[in-house]
Symmetry: C2
Subunit: 262 residues, 2 copies
């Protein structure tokens, strides 16, 4: 009698934006069980160390290769966690794993693969200042190595003209350091200069920095790869607070009534 190897599996998880206090218990349990972690080194570093667990750390720019590697390990019987920061479903590894399956070996469609939700960067950024995502909103990645820059600009200006709150991911890269400037030029053509802008860097981590400013005044030199930028809608409000307390920001749930009701 031959002993069959245990079937492998692949679970796509997100650590949340930084502290373990934002990692779901489901994700923590998966990290405690997995034999192999596959992910960008900075995200794998957020996972509590565990004896015997193999960490396959990779560079930031190789999502599909990383996904294939995870699938190969699972197909070989390993218990794999593919690790994203934030929510794996929002500009992260879940889509890369699905794409790798779609284009990959037929046998991968039989694998036990699952995706597990987490807290994404825009949610932590929003919570840190109040409730800027409280109205209809969009999330747009400025990463132009995956889509034409014209598409990015068209989506941005369309969403801005329809008065969505907008969260921008991947606002800067080494390859295109000026794209956030170009994006803001496009936004300034369709939104008022006093539109609220939040520059939320590394929220929840030791190097957190929160700036509440406006479309006209935002200092875009402060935006880096760890920054989530949130642009309010036309009704987003700043609540000033006394004695040097940081202001709160929120987008009213209602449209067209915030002034009338004041």
């Amino acid at each position: 009698m031959t002993v069959r190897p245990p079937p492998g599996r692949l679970r796509v998880i997100g650590t949340g934006p930084g502290p373990l206090a934002w990692m779901t218990p489901e994700t923590a349990a998966i990290l405690a069980e997995a034999t192999d972690l596959v992910g960008y080194a900075a995200y794998v570093a957020r996972c509590p160390p565990r004896d015997g667990q193999i960490r396959h750390e990779s560079d930031n720019r190789v999502e599909i290769e990383r996904a294939r590697h995870g699938l190969e390990l699972a197909a070989a019987g390993r218990d794999v966690a593919v690790v994203s920061g934030g929510d794996p479903g929002v500009f992260a590894m879940a889509a890369a794993v699905m794409e790798a399956i779609d284009r990959g070996e037929a046998a991968w469609r039989r694998l036990d693969v699952s995706v597990h939700p987490g807290v994404s960067a825009m949610q932590a950024a929003a919570a840190a200042v109040g409730a800027p995502l409280g109205a209809d909103f969009c999330a747009i990645s400025l990463s132009d190595n995956l889509k034409p820059w014209e598409v990015v600009i068209r989506r941005l200006t369309t969403a801005a003209a329809a008065d969505f709150v907008i969260a921008l991911y991947n606002p800067k890269s080494l390859a295109r350091p000026r794209k956030i400037f170009e994006a803001f030029d496009a936004l300034r053509a369709v939104r008022a200069p006093d539109t609220v802008v939040i520059l939320a860097r590394a929220v929840g981590r030791p190097d957190q920095r929160l700036i509440v400013t406006t479309l006209a005044d935002a200092d875009l030199d402060l935006v880096d790869m760890a920054t989530c930028v949130i642009l309010g809608n036309s009704e987003t409000r700043v609540i000033a607070r006394p004695d040097g307390r940081a202001p709160w920001v929120y987008s009213p749930r209602s449209v067209g009534t915030s002034e009338g009701g004041r």
Copy 2:
């Protein structure tokens, strides 16, 4: 010497979409400390019972009154948790609390108020089927008691025309049971009939039901108040799987290259 009462505080939290496995440790810790829970009864019911904690449960339609009640309790020295389902910052109580402060007593601006992120319904829905939110996306509430229906339809069709993935919250209500039908009529005018649609009901809860269908074929009678509807973009793909396994759905991270690369 007078003993001053301890200062109160108010923390806005979200339970996640259902199971405790999706509630962050931060939120669980807040629930374990709070003297008072304020929230819609169905969400308060998700919080583990605790001796001595007072639960102020309310109806679904009184967000601002509920927020004011929480602020009054905090101003009186209580340790208040205002409880949302999902993420409190996404169509939930964080914006209501901020609005109540903005329109309320000046002293409330000195209160210790904070918002804590959670997993929202669309994220759980997306994870359950793969990665449909893997590209640029919008979240739109169909609740028309807070904004004119024309605004809802304009945002929907604008976002659809710009090829965003779209997550719809509050797709049905007793007051307007036909609005999801009207929304789909508008979407069908700008998107192809074979656009992928996901009807994700009560994800993570015992009565979960997941349907992967298309814009042409979606049975909207199955949509209720517990359903999150996700409409794919023009490149969202369904991965068929063998032997009766449920299909996976994902939106490629790249634009305009998914066919070329196949």
